[in-house]
Protein backbone atom coordinates (compact mmCIF):
# COMPACT_ATOMS: atom_id res chain seq x y z
CA UNK A 1 0.00 0.00 0.00
CA UNK A 2 1.33 3.43 -0.78
CA UNK A 3 1.86 5.97 1.95
CA UNK A 4 -0.69 8.24 0.31
CA UNK A 5 -3.61 6.03 1.17
CA UNK A 6 -6.01 8.08 3.23
CA UNK A 7 -8.37 6.42 5.67
CA UNK A 8 -12.05 7.23 5.79
CA UNK A 9 -14.19 5.62 8.44
CA UNK A 10 -17.91 5.38 7.72
CA UNK A 11 -19.80 4.81 10.95
CA UNK A 12 -23.40 3.66 10.94
CA UNK A 13 -25.10 4.65 14.17
CA UNK A 14 -28.32 3.10 15.40
CA UNK A 15 -30.00 0.20 17.14
CA UNK A 16 -31.82 -2.94 15.99
CA UNK A 17 -35.20 -1.24 16.39
CA UNK A 18 -37.40 -0.06 13.52
CA UNK A 19 -36.00 2.67 11.34
CA UNK A 20 -33.25 3.36 13.85
CA UNK A 21 -31.27 0.60 12.12
CA UNK A 22 -31.12 2.53 8.84
CA UNK A 23 -27.61 3.81 9.62
CA UNK A 24 -26.43 0.21 9.98
CA UNK A 25 -28.20 -0.89 6.80
CA UNK A 26 -26.60 1.87 4.76
CA UNK A 27 -23.12 1.04 6.06
CA UNK A 28 -23.62 -2.70 5.53
CA UNK A 29 -24.81 -2.07 1.97
CA UNK A 30 -21.85 0.25 1.43
CA UNK A 31 -19.52 -2.54 2.59
CA UNK A 32 -21.12 -4.87 0.04
CA UNK A 33 -20.50 -2.34 -2.70
CA UNK A 34 -16.91 -1.85 -1.61
CA UNK A 35 -16.41 -5.61 -1.58
CA UNK A 36 -17.62 -5.68 -5.16
CA UNK A 37 -15.08 -2.94 -5.84
CA UNK A 38 -17.92 -0.64 -6.72
CA UNK A 39 -16.43 2.10 -4.55
CA UNK A 40 -13.56 4.50 -4.91
CA UNK A 41 -10.06 3.46 -5.84
CA UNK A 42 -8.71 1.46 -2.85
CA UNK A 43 -5.18 2.51 -3.71
CA UNK A 44 -6.13 6.06 -2.84
CA UNK A 45 -8.80 5.73 -0.20
CA UNK A 46 -8.99 3.08 2.50
CA UNK A 47 -12.67 3.05 3.39
CA UNK A 48 -13.53 1.34 6.68
CA UNK A 49 -17.19 0.65 7.33
CA UNK A 50 -18.26 0.08 10.93
CA UNK A 51 -21.57 0.01 12.76
CA UNK A 52 -22.17 1.17 16.31
CA UNK A 53 -25.04 0.35 18.64
CA UNK A 54 -26.07 3.60 20.39
CA UNK A 55 -22.45 4.49 21.09
CA UNK A 56 -22.97 7.69 23.10
CA UNK A 57 -19.58 9.25 23.75
CA UNK A 58 -17.91 6.13 22.36
CA UNK A 59 -18.44 7.67 18.93
CA UNK A 60 -15.39 9.81 19.72
CA UNK A 61 -13.24 6.72 20.08
CA UNK A 62 -14.64 5.28 16.88
CA UNK A 63 -13.39 8.35 15.04
CA UNK A 64 -9.94 8.29 16.59
CA UNK A 65 -6.98 7.98 14.27
CA UNK A 66 -8.75 8.89 11.04
CA UNK A 67 -8.71 12.19 9.22
CA UNK A 68 -12.17 11.84 7.76
CA UNK A 69 -15.17 10.28 9.46
CA UNK A 70 -18.61 9.93 7.96
CA UNK A 71 -21.47 9.35 10.40
CA UNK A 72 -24.71 7.85 9.12
CA UNK A 73 -27.71 8.16 11.42
CA UNK A 74 -31.50 8.16 11.34
CA UNK A 75 -33.05 11.55 12.05
CA UNK A 76 -36.60 12.67 12.58
CA UNK A 77 -37.20 15.93 10.78
CA UNK A 78 -39.90 17.84 8.96
CA UNK A 79 -39.43 19.44 5.60
CA UNK A 80 -39.70 23.17 5.56
CA UNK A 81 -42.63 24.77 3.81
CA UNK A 82 -42.64 28.17 2.05
CA UNK A 83 -44.85 29.55 4.84
CA UNK A 84 -42.47 28.39 7.50
CA UNK A 85 -44.96 25.90 8.92
CA UNK A 86 -43.99 22.37 9.74
CA UNK A 87 -44.14 20.26 6.61
CA UNK A 88 -44.32 16.52 6.08
CA UNK A 89 -41.99 14.10 7.82
CA UNK A 90 -38.72 14.25 5.92
CA UNK A 91 -37.82 11.27 3.78
CA UNK A 92 -34.38 12.01 2.50
CA UNK A 93 -30.77 11.31 3.03
CA UNK A 94 -29.03 14.67 3.42
CA UNK A 95 -25.63 15.94 4.45
CA UNK A 96 -26.22 17.76 7.70
CA UNK A 97 -24.36 20.51 9.44
CA UNK A 98 -23.52 20.06 13.06
CA UNK A 99 -25.95 22.74 14.18
CA UNK A 100 -28.73 21.06 12.22
CA UNK A 101 -28.02 17.83 14.03
CA UNK A 102 -28.30 19.65 17.32
CA UNK A 103 -31.70 21.04 16.36
CA UNK A 104 -32.85 17.62 15.22
CA UNK A 105 -31.65 15.64 18.19
CA UNK A 106 -34.50 14.74 20.47
CA UNK A 107 -34.60 16.94 23.53
CA UNK A 108 -35.57 13.96 25.64
CA UNK A 109 -33.07 11.64 24.05
CA UNK A 110 -32.33 8.64 26.22
CA UNK A 111 -29.11 7.62 27.92
CA UNK A 112 -28.01 11.15 28.59
CA UNK A 113 -25.64 11.49 25.64
CA UNK A 114 -26.59 11.48 21.98
CA UNK A 115 -24.47 11.98 18.88
CA UNK A 116 -24.90 15.73 18.97
CA UNK A 117 -23.71 16.01 22.57
CA UNK A 118 -20.87 13.59 21.92
CA UNK A 119 -19.67 15.71 19.00
CA UNK A 120 -19.94 18.88 21.08
CA UNK A 121 -17.81 17.20 23.73
CA UNK A 122 -15.34 16.01 21.11
CA UNK A 123 -15.00 19.53 19.80
CA UNK A 124 -14.21 20.95 23.25
CA UNK A 125 -11.69 18.17 23.84
CA UNK A 126 -10.11 18.56 20.40
CA UNK A 127 -10.90 14.96 19.55
CA UNK A 128 -12.78 15.37 16.28
CA UNK A 129 -11.19 14.27 13.01
CA UNK A 130 -10.04 16.95 10.56
CA UNK A 131 -13.01 16.23 8.43
CA UNK A 132 -16.41 15.12 9.66
CA UNK A 133 -19.46 14.51 7.50
CA UNK A 134 -22.88 13.62 8.81
CA UNK A 135 -25.42 11.90 6.63
CA UNK A 136 -28.87 12.11 8.16
CA UNK A 137 -31.65 9.91 6.86
CA UNK A 138 -35.14 11.20 7.56
CA UNK A 139 -37.39 8.55 9.09
CA UNK A 140 -40.77 8.29 10.81
CA UNK A 141 -40.75 9.13 14.52
CA UNK A 142 -42.60 5.88 15.26
CA UNK A 143 -39.94 3.54 16.61
CA UNK A 144 -41.49 0.50 14.94
CA UNK A 145 -41.72 1.94 11.45
CA UNK A 146 -39.15 0.80 8.91
CA UNK A 147 -37.33 3.40 6.83
CA UNK A 148 -38.94 4.36 3.51
CA UNK A 149 -38.21 2.30 0.42
CA UNK A 150 -35.05 3.34 -1.35
CA UNK A 151 -33.47 4.98 1.71
CA UNK A 152 -30.55 2.56 1.80
CA UNK A 153 -29.76 2.88 -1.91
CA UNK A 154 -29.96 6.66 -1.82
CA UNK A 155 -27.73 6.82 1.25
CA UNK A 156 -25.11 4.51 -0.26
CA UNK A 157 -25.11 6.48 -3.51
CA UNK A 158 -24.52 9.74 -1.68
CA UNK A 159 -21.61 8.30 0.30
CA UNK A 160 -20.02 6.79 -2.79
CA UNK A 161 -20.39 10.10 -4.60
CA UNK A 162 -18.76 11.92 -1.70
CA UNK A 163 -15.91 9.39 -1.60
CA UNK A 164 -15.33 9.76 -5.31
CA UNK A 165 -15.52 13.54 -5.32
CA UNK A 166 -14.29 14.60 -1.91
CA UNK A 167 -15.53 17.82 -0.39
CA UNK A 168 -18.80 17.95 -2.33
CA UNK A 169 -20.68 17.58 0.92
CA UNK A 170 -18.61 20.44 2.32
CA UNK A 171 -21.46 22.18 4.07
CA UNK A 172 -21.10 20.01 7.09
CA UNK A 173 -17.39 20.47 7.45
CA UNK A 174 -17.62 24.22 6.92
CA UNK A 175 -19.37 24.37 10.25
CA UNK A 176 -16.64 22.36 11.85
CA UNK A 177 -13.52 23.99 10.59
CA UNK A 178 -14.37 27.47 11.78
Amino acid sequence: MSAQVSTVRVIGIGSPFGADCIGWQVVEALQDRLDERGGPNPDVLDVQAVIADRPGVDVLRLMQGVRWAILVDAVVARDETPTGDDGAIARWPRWLQRDELQALSLEHSSHAVGVSEALALGEVLGQLPDRLSILGIGVEPDADAPAYAGAVEEGVAMILAALSAPRVEGRSEAALTT
Partner: protein
Protein backbone atom coordinates in the same frame (compact mmCIF):
# COMPACT_ATOMS: atom_id res chain seq x y z
CA UNK B 1 -36.43 34.86 60.65
CA UNK B 2 -36.63 33.64 57.09
CA UNK B 3 -39.73 34.10 55.05
CA UNK B 4 -42.23 31.27 55.62
CA UNK B 5 -43.21 31.05 52.02
CA UNK B 6 -45.04 28.31 50.22
CA UNK B 7 -43.10 26.67 47.46
CA UNK B 8 -44.21 24.22 44.85
CA UNK B 9 -41.49 22.79 42.68
CA UNK B 10 -42.33 20.50 39.82
CA UNK B 11 -39.50 18.90 37.94
CA UNK B 12 -41.42 16.95 35.30
CA UNK B 13 -38.43 15.30 33.64
CA UNK B 14 -35.28 14.69 35.63
CA UNK B 15 -32.07 15.42 33.78
CA UNK B 16 -28.87 13.36 33.66
CA UNK B 17 -30.40 10.23 35.10
CA UNK B 18 -31.08 6.98 33.28
CA UNK B 19 -34.84 6.88 33.00
CA UNK B 20 -38.00 8.89 33.12
CA UNK B 21 -38.71 10.40 36.47
CA UNK B 22 -39.95 13.62 38.01
CA UNK B 23 -39.71 15.45 41.30
CA UNK B 24 -42.63 17.11 43.07
CA UNK B 25 -41.95 19.24 46.10
CA UNK B 26 -44.31 21.37 48.19
CA UNK B 27 -43.23 23.55 51.06
CA UNK B 28 -45.69 25.01 53.56
CA UNK B 29 -44.79 27.11 56.57
CA UNK B 30 -41.10 26.42 56.23
CA UNK B 31 -41.50 22.63 56.19
CA UNK B 32 -41.72 20.11 53.37
CA UNK B 33 -45.38 19.10 53.18
CA UNK B 34 -45.16 16.86 50.14
CA UNK B 35 -42.24 15.24 48.38
CA UNK B 36 -42.47 12.63 45.66
CA UNK B 37 -39.94 11.11 43.33
CA UNK B 38 -42.35 10.14 40.59
CA UNK B 39 -41.22 7.37 38.30
CA UNK B 40 -43.66 7.41 35.43
CA UNK B 41 -41.83 5.28 32.96
CA UNK B 42 -44.28 2.60 31.87
CA UNK B 43 -44.09 -0.78 33.61
CA UNK B 44 -42.11 -3.17 31.48
CA UNK B 45 -43.50 -6.61 32.34
CA UNK B 46 -40.21 -8.45 31.87
CA UNK B 47 -41.03 -10.96 34.58
CA UNK B 48 -44.16 -11.94 32.66
CA UNK B 49 -42.29 -12.04 29.34
CA UNK B 50 -40.00 -14.66 30.82
CA UNK B 51 -42.77 -17.05 31.79
CA UNK B 52 -42.88 -20.05 29.47
CA UNK B 53 -39.47 -19.32 27.97
CA UNK B 54 -36.61 -21.79 28.09
CA UNK B 55 -33.74 -21.14 30.50
CA UNK B 56 -31.40 -20.61 27.53
CA UNK B 57 -33.34 -17.50 26.55
CA UNK B 58 -33.21 -15.85 29.95
CA UNK B 59 -29.70 -14.27 29.84
CA UNK B 60 -30.31 -12.51 26.52
CA UNK B 61 -33.84 -11.47 27.48
CA UNK B 62 -32.93 -9.89 30.81
CA UNK B 63 -29.95 -8.12 29.20
CA UNK B 64 -32.59 -6.04 27.41
CA UNK B 65 -33.86 -4.57 30.65
CA UNK B 66 -31.02 -2.08 30.80
CA UNK B 67 -28.64 -0.55 28.29
CA UNK B 68 -26.21 0.50 31.02
CA UNK B 69 -26.08 -2.58 33.22
CA UNK B 70 -27.01 -5.58 31.03
CA UNK B 71 -24.16 -7.65 32.46
CA UNK B 72 -25.62 -7.37 35.96
CA UNK B 73 -28.95 -8.75 34.75
CA UNK B 74 -27.21 -11.59 32.96
CA UNK B 75 -25.08 -12.42 35.97
CA UNK B 76 -27.95 -12.50 38.48
CA UNK B 77 -29.94 -14.65 36.06
CA UNK B 78 -27.29 -17.26 35.29
CA UNK B 79 -26.36 -17.66 38.94
CA UNK B 80 -30.01 -18.15 39.87
CA UNK B 81 -30.60 -20.72 37.12
CA UNK B 82 -27.38 -22.56 37.94
CA UNK B 83 -28.55 -22.70 41.55
CA UNK B 84 -31.76 -24.41 40.35
CA UNK B 85 -29.77 -26.93 38.32
CA UNK B 86 -27.15 -27.44 41.03
CA UNK B 87 -24.27 -26.44 38.73
CA UNK B 88 -20.87 -25.09 39.64
CA UNK B 89 -19.50 -23.40 36.54
CA UNK B 90 -15.92 -23.79 37.78
CA UNK B 91 -12.99 -21.44 38.42
CA UNK B 92 -12.39 -20.25 34.84
CA UNK B 93 -15.99 -19.17 34.33
CA UNK B 94 -16.11 -17.66 37.80
CA UNK B 95 -13.00 -15.53 37.15
CA UNK B 96 -14.11 -14.41 33.71
CA UNK B 97 -17.56 -13.44 34.97
CA UNK B 98 -15.84 -11.22 37.49
CA UNK B 99 -13.76 -9.64 34.73
CA UNK B 100 -16.85 -8.98 32.64
CA UNK B 101 -18.56 -7.44 35.65
CA UNK B 102 -15.48 -5.25 36.19
CA UNK B 103 -16.06 -3.99 32.65
CA UNK B 104 -19.60 -2.98 33.51
CA UNK B 105 -18.63 -1.21 36.74
CA UNK B 106 -15.87 0.56 34.85
CA UNK B 107 -18.07 1.86 32.05
CA UNK B 108 -21.12 2.65 34.17
CA UNK B 109 -19.22 4.39 36.98
CA UNK B 110 -16.98 6.32 34.57
CA UNK B 111 -20.02 7.53 32.68
CA UNK B 112 -21.81 8.57 35.84
CA UNK B 113 -18.86 10.31 37.47
CA UNK B 114 -17.87 12.38 34.47
CA UNK B 115 -20.98 12.88 32.38
CA UNK B 116 -23.73 12.92 34.98
CA UNK B 117 -22.43 13.78 38.46
CA UNK B 118 -19.27 15.91 38.28
CA UNK B 119 -20.92 18.82 36.42
CA UNK B 120 -23.17 19.27 39.48
CA UNK B 121 -20.27 19.53 41.87
CA UNK B 122 -18.13 21.74 39.65
CA UNK B 123 -20.93 24.13 38.71
CA UNK B 124 -21.57 23.26 35.07
CA UNK B 125 -24.79 22.50 33.20
CA UNK B 126 -23.25 19.58 31.37
CA UNK B 127 -20.04 17.74 30.65
CA UNK B 128 -19.55 19.82 27.51
CA UNK B 129 -19.17 22.97 29.60
CA UNK B 130 -17.09 21.13 32.17
CA UNK B 131 -14.72 19.75 29.53
CA UNK B 132 -13.50 23.26 28.72
CA UNK B 133 -11.92 23.64 32.15
CA UNK B 134 -11.40 19.99 33.08
CA UNK B 135 -10.39 18.49 29.75
CA UNK B 136 -7.82 16.12 31.18
CA UNK B 137 -10.27 14.65 33.69
CA UNK B 138 -12.96 14.21 31.03
CA UNK B 139 -10.53 12.58 28.61
CA UNK B 140 -9.42 10.20 31.34
CA UNK B 141 -13.06 9.40 32.12
CA UNK B 142 -13.85 8.65 28.49
CA UNK B 143 -10.81 6.40 28.22
CA UNK B 144 -11.81 4.45 31.32
CA UNK B 145 -15.39 4.16 30.11
CA UNK B 146 -14.17 2.92 26.73
CA UNK B 147 -11.93 0.36 28.40
CA UNK B 148 -14.94 -0.90 30.36
CA UNK B 149 -16.96 -1.20 27.16
CA UNK B 150 -14.13 -3.17 25.54
CA UNK B 151 -13.98 -5.58 28.49
CA UNK B 152 -17.70 -6.24 28.09
CA UNK B 153 -17.23 -6.64 24.34
CA UNK B 154 -14.43 -9.15 24.94
CA UNK B 155 -16.95 -11.60 26.39
CA UNK B 156 -20.26 -10.32 25.06
CA UNK B 157 -19.45 -9.53 21.44
CA UNK B 158 -20.81 -6.01 21.92
CA UNK B 159 -21.06 -3.61 24.82
CA UNK B 160 -24.78 -2.83 24.63
CA UNK B 161 -26.92 -5.88 25.39
CA UNK B 162 -24.00 -8.31 25.14
CA UNK B 163 -24.78 -11.83 23.93
CA UNK B 164 -21.87 -14.00 25.08
CA UNK B 165 -23.21 -15.14 28.44
CA UNK B 166 -24.98 -18.48 28.84
CA UNK B 167 -26.13 -20.66 31.70
CA UNK B 168 -22.98 -22.65 32.53
CA UNK B 169 -20.47 -20.03 31.31
CA UNK B 170 -19.81 -18.28 28.01
CA UNK B 171 -20.64 -19.23 24.43
CA UNK B 172 -17.02 -18.63 23.47
CA UNK B 173 -13.74 -17.80 25.14
CA UNK B 174 -11.79 -14.68 24.21
CA UNK B 175 -8.67 -15.11 22.06
CA UNK B 176 -5.41 -14.91 23.99
CA UNK B 177 -4.26 -12.14 21.68
CA UNK B 178 -7.28 -9.96 22.42
CA UNK B 179 -6.72 -10.55 26.11
CA UNK B 180 -3.06 -9.52 25.79
CA UNK B 181 -4.09 -6.21 24.21
CA UNK B 182 -6.53 -5.54 27.02
CA UNK B 183 -4.00 -6.47 29.68
CA UNK B 184 -1.66 -3.83 28.25
CA UNK B 185 -4.43 -1.26 28.30
CA UNK B 186 -5.48 -2.19 31.83
CA UNK B 187 -1.92 -1.85 33.02
CA UNK B 188 -1.72 1.61 31.49
CA UNK B 189 -5.09 2.51 33.03
CA UNK B 190 -4.10 1.64 36.58
CA UNK B 191 -2.37 4.98 37.34
CA UNK B 192 -5.25 6.73 35.58
CA UNK B 193 -7.72 5.06 37.91
CA UNK B 194 -5.63 6.08 40.93
CA UNK B 195 -5.58 9.64 39.64
CA UNK B 196 -9.36 9.47 39.26
CA UNK B 197 -9.77 8.53 42.94
CA UNK B 198 -7.65 11.53 43.95
CA UNK B 199 -9.62 13.80 41.64
CA UNK B 200 -13.01 12.58 42.88
CA UNK B 201 -11.93 12.91 46.52
CA UNK B 202 -10.93 16.50 45.77
CA UNK B 203 -14.30 17.51 44.32
CA UNK B 204 -16.08 20.23 46.32
CA UNK B 205 -18.78 17.93 47.70
CA UNK B 206 -21.51 19.21 50.02
CA UNK B 207 -21.22 18.13 53.65
CA UNK B 208 -24.43 16.33 54.51
CA UNK B 209 -24.21 13.68 57.22
CA UNK B 210 -27.31 11.49 57.37
CA UNK B 211 -28.52 8.42 59.16
CA UNK B 212 -29.19 5.56 56.74
CA UNK B 213 -28.93 1.80 56.52
CA UNK B 214 -26.45 0.37 54.00
CA UNK B 215 -27.20 -3.00 52.38
CA UNK B 216 -24.81 -4.99 50.19
CA UNK B 217 -23.48 -8.42 49.45
CA UNK B 218 -20.55 -9.61 51.51
CA UNK B 219 -18.14 -12.30 50.39
CA UNK B 220 -15.81 -14.18 52.69
CA UNK B 221 -12.69 -13.09 50.81
CA UNK B 222 -13.25 -10.59 48.05
CA UNK B 223 -15.00 -7.32 47.32
CA UNK B 224 -18.47 -8.52 46.30
CA UNK B 225 -19.71 -8.76 42.73
CA UNK B 226 -21.31 -12.10 41.89
CA UNK B 227 -21.59 -13.85 45.23
CA UNK B 228 -22.04 -13.36 48.93
CA UNK B 229 -24.47 -13.06 51.78
CA UNK B 230 -26.84 -10.15 52.25
CA UNK B 231 -25.63 -7.88 55.03
CA UNK B 232 -26.70 -4.51 56.38
CA UNK B 233 -25.15 -1.85 58.59
CA UNK B 234 -27.77 -2.60 61.24
CA UNK B 235 -26.92 -6.24 61.64
CA UNK B 236 -28.70 -8.20 58.90
CA UNK B 237 -26.72 -11.23 57.73
CA UNK B 238 -28.73 -13.70 55.66
CA UNK B 239 -28.57 -15.90 52.61
CA UNK B 240 -29.82 -14.38 49.34
CA UNK B 241 -32.52 -17.08 49.41
CA UNK B 242 -33.94 -15.38 52.51
CA UNK B 243 -34.28 -11.98 50.85
CA UNK B 244 -38.08 -12.11 50.83
CA UNK B 245 -38.20 -12.72 54.58
CA UNK B 246 -36.56 -9.37 55.30
CA UNK B 247 -37.27 -7.12 52.35
CA UNK B 248 -40.67 -6.02 51.08
CA UNK B 249 -41.76 -4.27 47.92
CA UNK B 250 -44.95 -2.26 47.71
CA UNK B 251 -46.72 -0.20 45.14
CA UNK B 252 -47.15 3.51 45.63
CA UNK B 253 -49.57 5.59 43.58
CA UNK B 254 -46.99 8.07 42.30
CA UNK B 255 -44.54 5.59 40.81
CA UNK B 256 -44.40 2.72 38.37
CA UNK B 257 -41.37 1.43 40.29
CA UNK B 258 -42.01 -0.51 43.47
CA UNK B 259 -40.80 0.91 46.79
CA UNK B 260 -38.58 -1.43 48.80
CA UNK B 261 -38.03 -1.57 52.52
CA UNK B 262 -35.89 -3.60 54.94
CA UNK B 263 -37.86 -4.43 58.08
CA UNK B 264 -40.16 -1.54 57.18
CA UNK B 265 -37.43 1.07 56.66
CA UNK B 266 -35.78 2.62 53.60
CA UNK B 267 -32.23 1.48 52.89
CA UNK B 268 -29.32 2.26 50.60
CA UNK B 269 -27.78 0.00 47.99
CA UNK B 270 -24.96 0.89 45.59
CA UNK B 271 -21.32 1.94 45.70
CA UNK B 272 -21.34 3.80 49.03
CA UNK B 273 -23.29 1.00 50.76
CA UNK B 274 -20.92 -1.60 49.28
CA UNK B 275 -17.85 0.34 50.34
CA UNK B 276 -19.22 1.07 53.81
CA UNK B 277 -19.75 -2.64 54.37
CA UNK B 278 -16.81 -4.09 52.44
CA UNK B 279 -13.88 -1.66 52.57
CA UNK B 280 -11.90 -4.32 54.45
CA UNK B 281 -12.24 -6.53 51.36
CA UNK B 282 -10.48 -4.07 49.03
CA UNK B 283 -7.08 -5.16 47.74
CA UNK B 284 -4.27 -3.35 49.60
CA UNK B 285 -3.31 -1.19 46.62
CA UNK B 286 -6.85 0.05 46.18
CA UNK B 287 -7.43 0.61 49.88
CA UNK B 288 -4.19 2.52 50.36
CA UNK B 289 -5.01 4.90 47.49
CA UNK B 290 -8.43 5.49 49.01
CA UNK B 291 -7.01 6.10 52.48
CA UNK B 292 -4.37 8.45 51.12
CA UNK B 293 -7.20 10.52 49.67
CA UNK B 294 -8.77 10.89 53.08
CA UNK B 295 -12.02 8.95 52.62
CA UNK B 296 -12.97 7.60 56.05
CA UNK B 297 -15.42 4.72 56.22
CA UNK B 298 -18.14 4.04 56.96
CA UNK B 299 -19.28 7.37 55.57
CA UNK B 300 -22.63 8.99 56.34
CA UNK B 301 -22.26 11.64 53.65
CA UNK B 302 -24.29 10.42 50.68
CA UNK B 303 -22.26 12.68 48.38
CA UNK B 304 -19.29 10.40 49.01
CA UNK B 305 -21.02 8.08 46.55
CA UNK B 306 -19.08 9.72 43.73
CA UNK B 307 -15.80 8.96 45.52
CA UNK B 308 -16.98 5.40 46.19
CA UNK B 309 -17.60 5.00 42.46
CA UNK B 310 -14.07 6.19 41.73
CA UNK B 311 -12.67 3.69 44.26
CA UNK B 312 -14.66 0.96 42.53
CA UNK B 313 -13.30 2.07 39.14
CA UNK B 314 -9.83 1.58 40.60
CA UNK B 315 -10.88 -1.80 41.98
CA UNK B 316 -12.36 -2.86 38.62
CA UNK B 317 -9.17 -2.02 36.72
CA UNK B 318 -7.05 -3.75 39.37
CA UNK B 319 -9.18 -6.89 39.48
CA UNK B 320 -9.61 -7.22 35.71
CA UNK B 321 -5.85 -6.88 35.30
CA UNK B 322 -5.13 -9.40 38.06
CA UNK B 323 -7.50 -11.98 36.56
CA UNK B 324 -6.55 -11.47 32.91
CA UNK B 325 -2.79 -11.43 33.49
CA UNK B 326 -2.92 -15.18 34.05
CA UNK B 327 -5.47 -15.84 31.32
CA UNK B 328 -5.42 -19.28 29.76
CA UNK B 329 -8.07 -20.21 27.19
CA UNK B 330 -10.12 -23.12 28.49
CA UNK B 331 -10.89 -26.36 26.67
CA UNK B 332 -14.53 -25.39 26.83
CA UNK B 333 -15.83 -22.01 28.09
CA UNK B 334 -18.92 -23.46 29.73
CA UNK B 335 -19.99 -26.50 31.72
CA UNK B 336 -22.70 -28.74 30.37
CA UNK B 337 -26.16 -28.15 31.73
CA UNK B 338 -28.99 -30.54 32.51
CA UNK B 339 -32.34 -28.92 33.33
CA UNK B 340 -33.85 -29.67 36.66
CA UNK B 341 -37.05 -28.35 38.24
CA UNK B 342 -36.94 -26.05 41.24
CA UNK B 343 -36.47 -22.57 42.58
CA UNK B 344 -33.18 -20.65 42.52
CA UNK B 345 -31.90 -17.27 43.57
CA UNK B 346 -29.24 -15.00 42.14
CA UNK B 347 -28.06 -11.77 43.66
CA UNK B 348 -25.17 -9.73 42.31
CA UNK B 349 -23.87 -6.21 42.74
CA UNK B 350 -24.97 -4.14 39.74
CA UNK B 351 -23.14 -0.81 39.44
CA UNK B 352 -26.09 0.79 41.24
CA UNK B 353 -26.48 -1.91 43.87
CA UNK B 354 -28.14 -5.22 44.64
CA UNK B 355 -29.90 -6.94 41.79
CA UNK B 356 -31.91 -9.87 43.10
CA UNK B 357 -33.51 -12.54 40.87
CA UNK B 358 -35.68 -15.52 41.69
CA UNK B 359 -36.68 -18.15 39.10
CA UNK B 360 -38.97 -21.11 39.32
CA UNK B 361 -38.26 -23.57 36.52
CA UNK B 362 -40.05 -26.72 35.40
CA UNK B 363 -38.45 -30.08 34.53
CA UNK B 364 -37.69 -28.92 30.97
CA UNK B 365 -36.01 -25.78 32.27
CA UNK B 366 -38.86 -23.47 31.28
CA UNK B 367 -39.59 -20.46 33.43
CA UNK B 368 -42.74 -20.86 35.50
CA UNK B 369 -42.26 -17.68 37.50
CA UNK B 370 -39.66 -14.94 37.70
CA UNK B 371 -39.06 -12.10 40.09
CA UNK B 372 -36.53 -9.34 39.52
CA UNK B 373 -35.74 -6.64 42.07
CA UNK B 374 -33.48 -3.93 40.59
CA UNK B 375 -31.36 -1.51 42.62
CA UNK B 376 -33.16 1.69 41.74
CA UNK B 377 -36.49 0.52 43.11
CA UNK B 378 -34.66 -0.45 46.29
CA UNK B 379 -33.18 3.04 46.52
CA UNK B 380 -36.35 4.93 45.68
CA UNK B 381 -37.67 5.27 49.24
CA UNK B 382 -34.16 6.12 50.41
CA UNK B 383 -33.88 8.88 47.76
CA UNK B 384 -37.14 10.43 48.99
CA UNK B 385 -35.91 10.23 52.58
CA UNK B 386 -32.61 11.83 51.55
CA UNK B 387 -34.37 14.62 49.64
CA UNK B 388 -36.38 15.62 52.69
CA UNK B 389 -33.33 15.73 54.95
CA UNK B 390 -31.00 17.29 52.38
CA UNK B 391 -33.34 20.04 51.26
CA UNK B 392 -34.23 21.03 54.82
CA UNK B 393 -30.54 21.01 55.77
CA UNK B 394 -29.73 23.02 52.62
CA UNK B 395 -32.33 25.60 53.61
CA UNK B 396 -35.82 25.91 52.18
CA UNK B 397 -35.38 29.69 52.08
CA UNK B 398 -33.20 29.29 48.98
CA UNK B 399 -34.79 30.36 45.72
CA UNK B 400 -36.55 27.85 43.53
CA UNK B 401 -33.68 27.40 41.11
CA UNK B 402 -31.28 26.62 43.93
CA UNK B 403 -33.75 24.21 45.55
CA UNK B 404 -34.38 22.48 42.25
CA UNK B 405 -30.67 22.13 41.52
CA UNK B 406 -29.97 20.72 44.98
CA UNK B 407 -32.88 18.30 44.62
CA UNK B 408 -31.62 17.12 41.24
CA UNK B 409 -28.09 16.80 42.58
CA UNK B 410 -29.33 14.61 45.43
CA UNK B 411 -31.24 12.37 43.01
CA UNK B 412 -28.44 12.13 40.47
CA UNK B 413 -26.02 11.21 43.23
CA UNK B 414 -27.77 7.80 43.39
CA UNK B 415 -27.19 7.34 39.65
CA UNK B 416 -30.79 6.16 39.36
CA UNK B 417 -31.34 3.87 36.42
CA UNK B 418 -35.05 4.43 36.18
CA UNK B 419 -34.66 2.37 33.12
CA UNK B 420 -33.23 4.21 30.19
CA UNK B 421 -34.11 7.74 29.06
CA UNK B 422 -34.24 11.35 30.19
CA UNK B 423 -32.93 14.79 30.19
CA UNK B 424 -33.78 18.14 31.52
CA UNK B 425 -36.06 19.97 33.86
CA UNK B 426 -38.83 22.44 33.80
CA UNK B 427 -40.10 24.00 36.96
CA UNK B 428 -43.38 25.53 38.06
CA UNK B 429 -43.40 27.66 41.15
CA UNK B 430 -46.63 28.67 42.87
CA UNK B 431 -46.37 31.45 45.37
CA UNK B 432 -49.33 32.53 47.44
Amino acid sequence: MSERRSVSIRVPVLARVEGEGALELDVEGGRISELKLRIYEPPRFFEKFLEGRGFEEVPDTVARICGICPVAYQMSAVHAIEAVFGIDAGPWVRAMRRVMYCGEWLQSHSLHIHLLAAPDFLGFDSVVGMAGEHAEAVRRGLELQGLGNDLIRLFGGRSVHPVGVCVGGFHRAPDAEQVRDLVARLRAALPQAEALVEWAAGLPLPEDEQDFVSVALRHREEYPMNEGRLVSSDGLDCSIADYERHFAEEQVAHSTALHSSLHGRPYLVGPLARLNLNHDRLPDAVRSTMERCGLRLPSRNMFHSVVARAVEVHLAVYEALRLLERYVPPDQPFVDVTPHPGVGYGCTEAPRGLLWHRYELDAAGQVRAARIVPPTSQNQARIEQDLRVSLEAFGLEHDDDALRLRGETVIRNYDPCISCATHFLRITVNRP
